[in-house]
Amino acid sequence: MPIVKNISEFFGNENARSLKWRLEHGGYESARKALREMKPDEVTETVINSNLRGLGGAGFPTGRKWSFVPKGTDKPKYLAVNCDEAEPGTFKDKYIVEWDPHRLLEGIIICSYAVGIHTAYIYIRGEYVRPFERLEQAVKEAYAGGIIGEKVLGEDYKLDVFIHRGAGAYICGEETGLLESLEGKKGWPRLKPPFPALVGAFGCPTVINNVETLSHLPGIIKNGAQWFSDLGCERNGGSRLFALSGCVNKPGVYELPMGTPMKELIYEHGGGILEGRKLKAVVPGGTSSAVLTAEEAEMATLDFDCLAKLKSMAGSGAVIVLDEDVCMVKALHNIEHFFSHESCGQCTPCREGTAWVFRILTRIVEGGGTMADIATLKNLGQNMGGTSICALCEGAAMPLRSFVSKFEDEFEYYVKHKRSLVEDRKRNAVAV
């Protein structure tokens, strides 16, 4: 399937950041259409019918999420825009914010109008310095140009948009961790229920959506629900940005229809594997997802349902390619280092589990592992998921289970020989 340009239309175009230019190129027409010609419920209905699913990681149907927000409440309602983008391998929201921030702002207007929201906070990870500067500039221009503020696009609708910078904590991407952080606390996820749609930011009903999810709204309002849903595959509407990285020749962001074969992304768009090496494995949706073997990756399609069937997940759309020269023991060690560093420490299985997994893997990598360690890793993989407040713990368990079971020979070799199988092979190949 060819590359599509629904939301990536202006990536790489220096002009698109300017409000004036953007207004001359279709900017805010859909928001205007929604405000003038559609009732809020009609907007929500359109989004439900489009089959747009949350692109932050969980894939929850977007319109349905909005419909959980109570109508007749006198409390203010909030929109929290998730631009924390910290799942390893993910860098797509950055492209939207850096190249086409007005598309995001237009999406924010459309969502806010549909739900009856008058204050939106964009939570952007603290490490994103230039993206923040560009976003801030766009928000300023949008206020000055009468796009947002007291009268959105001149209509009788008020909307404030504020940017809130994070400060380095992966867990603040989890929706309730994000809300805590927005409220000025450490990012400890909250027990659910109550769900944020009822009790979210500052105790009020709140919608949390990913940057990319919101950026699809202008296109959906412009071209209709049917157009979007037809673009994708069954139950997976539209297109999506895939962040391709790792051992490929052309890493980058590619917008493709849902359901595109993974092979196509890697070999056609991504230019194939580095230096003609062989594909070994793919991490298909950020490091929280289960790793796929080369065979699995070659049959996979890029959508939520196919990857769920393969007992992995589409997650954040971050596709990380690993070639034959990558040691899977060390790769898992790398991934679990991240999770043990980022566990917020509230839940015992997660705090202790991620720490032990990292410690055991460090021991193995340093040549002091035993066969019993491998058994312990398997055991931990079975016991860490599903017993904690948020999904980070399961996110650490997914790679653990899949790496150890799918590449068990590498783990056993490492323990027996105190060295990496892959590195030994490479060394022998050179020696021969």
Partner: protein
């Protein structure tokens, strides 16, 4: 190092503007701490107390937030701060070489500051969101990618040159 901390008049204005964005004072915590770190380079105990007073919360609440987030530092950093990503995509593309080069060129380990106070650097196990540039680092917050040993050396040279030319 001054024993007390106060926002500059300009930052006081910015702080007042920040307060207006939120329904609670406490929500101004992260932006206030960013502002503090921008002004002082780090967050001192005196600054923690100052923010606590401004936001009307106990100082332990400020300390808790400062220690939770990795970007807030309670110690001064070098004039320029470098963060090297060693998450999966950077690691498979050679972040080890970037680390070794920095250690050699700067003469200090990750977490340290050079003797002249010009540089501090650290290795981050988190992905910095620029894996298309792997292996990469952040210099004063900006991404530098597709790094090799030579490129890292060149980058440090360029940085030093821009300083002597008074830029």
């Amino acid at each position: 190092m001054s024993a007390s901390f106060e926002f500059t008049p300009e930052n006081k204005k910015r702080f007042e503007e920040i307060l207006r964005r939120y329904p609670t004072k406490r929500a101004a915590m992260l932006p206030s701490l960013h502002l503090t770190q921008e002004q002082e380079g780090y967050i001192s105990p005196e600054a923690e107390q100052y923010i606590a007073d401004l936001l009307e919360v106990p100082v332990v609440d400020v300390r808790e937030v400062v220690s939770f987030y990795t970007m807030f530092t309670r110690n001064p950093l070098g004039k320029h701060h470098i963060r090297v990503c060693e998450s999966l995509s950077c690691w498979v593309r050679g972040s080890d070489e970037v680390k070794e080069t920095l250690e050699k060129e700067l003469g200090v380990e990750s977490g340290g500051i050079t003797e002249d106070g010009e540089y501090s650097w650290e290795v981050i196990p988190d992905c910095l969101g620029a894996c298309e540039l792997a292996p990469m680092l952040q210099l004063d917050g900006y991404f530098e990618g597709n790094l090799t040993r030579e490129k890292v050396v060149e980058l440090l040279k360029k940085q030093a040159a821009s300083k002597t030319s008074g830029k």
